[in-house]
Assembly symmetry: C2
Homo-oligomer: 389 residues x 2
């Protein structure tokens, strides 16, 4: 039969049918009144998810585009910046900053662990001349399945004037992030994660301090020019042609997000996380991240001794139509990552765990069929009382 996949990636995530249908709407004039209304609608909806009063800019780009926009608008060549890195996406922010001429200082933590706010406070304390112009942190590190304590990291900055820049691409909308209440200067997000729409859009939100920095920033930019985007937004337009299908889809998905409610969405993601973790543990598998820092969006599982993670992934895909992510860089073939964010419900995770059990059995790993499922069911049943399912 035609491929019928259980897409369990940390993005792109499954897209609801109503959102897929919105992709196929007829084209409209992106300089006309229909687009103006659409842009205002989705911008208002995005602000609610970002928990901000600030403007949110929409780029036709991958999430990495908004990361680049954050750097190109807020960091000038020669600026010293501090990148707090706990994995691949922390490294990416550092690399982008280097390419744009910044002096990059790194604060690294072992992959699979979270950043320690006290360590950040220590580095900040050392910066007596306030040379650090920006601190970059990752909200949810997709490569390891670890969520940072963004609020605590921001607090560690104290009243140091550096901009606080957050890559929230894979976490925003799946777990708590308070742009305004936590005093975050720049927040970056992407479309193909908890927003339940296909890849193709990135979102960028700047605080008043970040807007001031952008006005002073000397880095080259045209595509990523936030000031141009802000001015055009006043007219209900974008500086260049927007990705219309994804924006139509976003209007639909934002309605679904509003209907479910952010708190309920966060609770669902926590439950899905716990189902995956309890299920994996019941199979004797080891998890990369500790419970305290475990992501609600994606879970990294170590492959058992003697079995490559990529072999498990291949069997999952070829035999059971379940698609999970692999490990990156030093974690390649050592972990596989089950995404459980966006348009995912309890039974999807249970089916994926059942497939994992069968795939492990195919790979010669001793597994008692049904035991991972059983553990996940127990978590799901506990959630039924609180409106889960």
């Amino acid at each position: 039969m035609e491929e019928k996949q259980y897409l369990m990636l940390p993005g792109p995530t499954p897209v609801p049918s109503g959102v897929l249908r919105a992709l196929a709407r007829p084209m409209i004039n992106h300089r006309g009144p229909e687009f103006k209304a659409l842009l205002e609608e989705v911008t208002d909806g995005l602000k609610k998810v970002f928990r901000t009063q600030n403007q949110v800019i929409i780029f036709p780009s991958a999430g990495t585009g908004a990361m680049e926009a954050a750097v190109a608008n807020c960091v000038s060549p020669g600026d010293k910046v501090l990148v707090v890195s706990i994995g691949v996406f922390g490294e990416r922010f550092a690399e982008i900053a280097r390419r744009f001429g910044a002096q990059v200082e790194k604060l690294d933590f072992a992959w699979g662990t979270a950043a320690d706010p006290a360590a950040l406070a220590g580095v900040i304390k050392e910066d007596k001349n306030q040379e650090i112009k920006a601190v970059f942190v990752t909200h949810n590190e997709t490569s390891t399945g670890v969520t940072n304590d963004v609020q605590g990291l921001r607090a560690a900055l104290g009243d140091h004037p550096a901009l606080f820049v957050v890559d929230a691409v894979s976490g925003l909308g799946a777990m708590e992030l308070e742009t305004d209440a936590w005093n975050l200067d720049v927040v970056v997000a992407g479309s193909q994660k908890s927003f339940m729409i296909p890849p193709g859009l990135s979102f960028l939100c700047l605080s008043p301090r970040a807007w001031e920095a952008a006005a002073r920033c000397t880095n080259s930019r045209y595509y990523w020019d936030v000031e141009a985007a802000r001015k055009m937004a006043e007219k209900g337009q974008t500086p260049y042609t927007p990705a219309l299908p994804q924006i139509s889809a976003l209007a639909e998905s934002l309605k679904m997000i509003e209907a479910e409610g952010l708190e309920n969405i966060f609770a669902r993601h926590r439950r899905l996380r716990d189902m995956v973790r309890q299920g994996a543990r019941a199979l004797g598998l080891e998890l990369l991240a500790r419970d305290e820092v475990a992501s609600s969006a994606v879970t990294a599982i170590l492959s058992p001794a003697g079995i490559g993670a990529d072999t498990i992934r291949r069997v999952l895909r070829e035999k059971f139509n379940v698609v999970v992510a692999g490990g990156q860089r030093q974690l390649q073939n050592k972990i596989f990552r089950i995404g459980h964010l966006g348009y995912v419900q309890d039974l999807d995770v249970i089916a994926a765990l059942a497939a994992l059990e069968m795939a492990l059995a195919c790979c010669g790993y001793k597994v008692e069929l049904g035991q991972g499922v059983r553990a996940a069911q127990s978590v799901a049943l506990a959630g039924v009382g609180e409106g889960g399912g």
Copy 2:
């Protein structure tokens, strides 16, 4: 979140995304060359599934429409007919025949059992004056999850001249049925079952003997007039406006059916049946049909003592978004029926069983979570070697 259902009904069944997209094609002139090509394409594809060289007629109707067409074209008022009934859809054929003036004789078998060819042979033997003009049988009785031995029943007729009419609405394409090789005179099917398209079309296939009977038949008919349909089909048209979206969808689904191959499709359905049955048994549940006559399309499961089947169904739907069918007539609230035909794969059945376990637990039934899943996984794993999944 938006309803994300596991639709486990014996129709309508889930529809593949490519087929759903075909529903949305622009309208075409049903008297133009595009429709002519489309009608020829789907008719050829249907013949392969019916395993026939006969013409297959497509009605814009429910499956019941083609049942009525079978009667209206092949049975005249006053004709004696024999209806072999093993459930609701056998009863329906009898009722349609009565409404069209036939003298209906019944050969009934207990619901949950199959028709006995020897019993049919006995009735036929008694009909020394060959008064019976048609024998009606059900291929797959949707209400009980029982599949009849259609080949054996046809053989029981011997050289008695009665037309042999088969309601194959829920079975054709999911399990063996050989229209020509088994010498079946009339075969009726519907779109929303193994054809993986939405409801809205029925299919009717007549043998040369059935066409002759139709030419002599005195019953009133306009909509169901097969001769009008045959004549118009020669021009690549239909007597009245066809249901264009479903016909476009059918063209897509027939390609998928051809790509998977009928034998592989039958094997998949048998595996899904065995998964459901082994899973249910592992939970201590009783099955309505014996293994020997168990349908590959739908399985009827008795609800445990003290728990109404409709309560289980409600919990499945409300708490876990799994939709299964209930019992009809005397089986109401006593059984629930899990459909496993059409666009369904192993993990869908496993997820439904996991949900059933949780729903039973919610209803106070003592269930060891994961045990039904485990039994189904064992069946699925055995099927992996033969290309399952």
